[in-house]
Amino acid sequence: MNLRRIATVASKEWRETVRDRMFFLLAFLLPILWMLVFGYGLVLDVENIPFAVVDRDRSALSRDYLYRFFESRYFSFQGYLQSEDEADAALQTGKIRAAIIVPEKFEERLLAGQPVGIQTLIDGTFPLRTDITKMYVIAINSAFSEERVIDHVSRRSGIARAQAEARVRPIRLEVRYLYNEEVRSTWSMVPAMLMFTLMVSSPLLTALGIVREKETGSIYNIYSSTVTKFEFLAGKLFPYVLISSVNAVVLWVMATLWFGVPFKGNLPFFLAASLVFVLSSTGIGLLVSLMVRTQIAALLITLIVAMVPTILYSGLIVPVSSLSPGSQIQAHLFPGMYYTNIVRGAFLKGVGFEVLWVDVLALAAYAAALRIVGYRFFTKRPRS
């Protein structure tokens, strides 16, 4: 091993990267643009659900009831409909995602102290939205229902409202949200976007860089030179590790300053862990570059092995614990999951190495394993 030769390969690779201005620019621009679009766009708070109402009662009480939906930020009122058929049609076109049907005699029955059924039609095409819509409807219904019952009980039994309330609702649930006290999805998504961006762009940069040389044939210069395998790979990966590390810092600055996500953890620890992550994600690029000969294939395979599993199995949206056992195994095979724990832990929970050491070790093992595989399979003599 000769450090000078490594430095030479690295500087050659660096120049080649810098010379392609558009590629170089995109390598830095892409994380920033993604962070902006996803930071604002990838909102998981289900709000403004478009809904319509069929009010068969048209009474003061039914309006009072519906008013709670109109006022809620979770729902966005699209208009009154005349019949259930109209609601069906509106659901089918996707103009509304839910329809609330208030039956006749709504007011009459409630005032008489009788139960009333409220029917809600919900679009089931998007299970997450369906689930949350259902939950919001139930919450509004039971809040309204409780008030009616408390009223009724206090009037009937002639007791104070507070007393009636205790009778109707014997257990209160006090919920405390930890780490993200206002439950903003931006706070959970923006740190995770650090993971997504580094996980997808770094392997691509690396794979394209190496395969480019294979495809244009300039790698033959390397084959015939005195540079050893190790020196070549180390020098070759250096610029991409550097670019990705710079991006990690830029993304951190964007997350904290632009999006105002609190960073409660230890910065040196976080930066060190990010470097380990960058080493493992560039390792994926190295592995892909060994499998293919053309840049098209490198692109496609990187997208499929890096982007799709990162969307699905990294804990970005669906937590790993709620995956099926088979998918959990798959999740553990990708480095994204470990780094998601690290970013969310360092940003929101303020925990450090004492808690996250397992994840850091897993990433380090991953980086090492990928490099060993890369070293074994990279041959200076091309198979003919």
């Binding site: 766009g41 009788q114 919920v175 780490y179 098209i296 692109l299 997208l303 709620s322």
Partner: protein, 390 residues
């Protein structure tokens, strides 16, 4: 025109023959790249199966930690109600301080604390409260967990009251209760496998449709073989469209395998609408998306550049077109930006045809938007391509 072909129709025949030859060349070139074919097969079969099976977007198996200071019948019963599939009891601890540490470590997502005298208070009609700590580092999951917990506790409370007071006056028949009655349409059982397998299929189609033609075109530019094509009698239009045609055929076949080989038989995804309509619109989608890739290809000089460029576009398309998060919740400017994503329309169309049984009468606006977008992108690509090489 029919018996003796005139010069016009002969020219047309040659034009079509040339197009067919070019398309065949693209196919040959594609299938020669073994890793690509291997991943094509994997993406449309095994990957769809794994994803359909594995992903649950609703709250599922949220790990629950309990501190029960009461150890009574009621507290046992309440804990017991936090059940699968939503919750999974991870453990019980004696020291409530320990709970925070579990949450810090990510070993539990929800921590339920039941106070002492819980049972006693319930029985005597004294108000009581249980505490729930929720990890909201993943905010929608946290909210969802809190929502389910609220429902569980409320129902438990009401049932206890009814059981205690007896059916004297507070029986539910004599109370002005609102009974929530839901009908979930198009996917009655809220079957995640339908949504996830469809989403996955659409993701794969998008990736292949944008990338393959773009890279194929740039590769010809990079290697200079495009010059050879241009001195041949082929028109620039033929050079471009043949790449799209080849990929469209391949992707349609792969989609058919995925739909009829996996999604329908294994997951029972319904195909309520017209199959012909679905495949025609899939072809339109591939065409539009390919137009996007080709436009990117004409703006770049080598494959590395086109790779970064398509990546820049494809990630927002995949995440923000309504496959991961509902469209309605995004800020207006992102929604407007996503009007440029053909996938956004194709998601509407696919859900419409497969799940809702919608026909062209309800889907026409999505179809029109996609066609306009495709035409514009294709036109832009052609214009750039012509300018560069003629």
């Amino acid at each position: 025109m029919t018996s003796a072909p005139g010069p016009g129709s002969q020219r047309a025949a040659i034009w079509w023959r040339r197009l067919a030859v070019m398309t065949r060349k693209e196919m040959l070139q594609l299938f020669r790249d073994v890793p690509i074919v291997a991943f094509l097969v994997y993406s449309f079969t095994l990957a769809v199966f794994i994803t359909g099976n594995g992903i649950r977007s609703q709250l599922h198996n949220a790990s629950l930690l309990v501190h029960d200071a009461d150890h009574s019948v009621s507290s046992r019963e309440l804990i017991h109600r936090f059940q699968a599939p939503f919750f999974r009891l991870e453990g019980e601890i004696a020291d409530p301080q320990e709970g925070l540490r579990w949450l810090d470590r990510g070993k539990a997502m929800v921590f339920l604390e039941i106070p002492p005298r819980f049972h006693e208070q319930l029985m005597t009609g004294e108000p009581t409260a249980v505490q729930l700590l929720v990890d909201t580092t993943n905010s929608p999951q946290g909210l969802s967990a809190a929502g389910y917990a609220a429902q569980i506790v409320e129902r438990f409370g009401q049932e206890t009251v009814q059981a205690n007071v007896g059916s004297s006056e507070e029986s539910s028949q004599n109370l002005p209760i609102i009974v929530s009655d839901h009908r979930v349409w198009y996917n009655q059982d809220q079957n995640d496998t339908w949504f996830e397998s469809i989403s996955h299929l659409l993701r794969q189609i998008t990736i292949f449709a944008i990338l393959l033609p773009a890279a194929a075109l740039v590769r010809e530019k990079e290697r200079g073989t495009v010059e050879q094509l241009l001195v041949s009698p082929l028109t620039p239009f033929q050079i471009m469209i043949s790449k799209v045609l080849a990929m469209t055929v391949v992707i349609l076949c792969a989609t058919a395998v995925s739909l009829f080989g996996i999604m329908q038989p294994v997951f029972g995804v319904p195909i309520k609408g017209s199959i012909v309509l679905f495949f025609s619109l899939t072809a339109l989608f591939v065409f539009t998306t390919a137009g996007m890739g080709l436009a990117a290809a004409t703006l770049t000089r080598n494959q590395a550049q086109v790779g970064m460029m398509t990546l820049l576009v494809v990630a927002p398309m995949l995440l923000l077109s309504g496959l991961t998060t509902p469209m309605e919740v995004m800020p207006a400017w992102v929604r407007h930006l996503m009007a440029l994503s053909p996938l956004r329309y194709y998601v509407e169309i696919t859900h419409g045809i497969l799940l809702k049984g919608a026909g062209s009468s309800t889907l026409w606006d999505s179809v029109l938007a996609m066609a306009l977008l495709g035409g514009a992108l294709f036109g832009f690509g052609m214009w750039r391509f012509r300018r560069q090489f003629e």
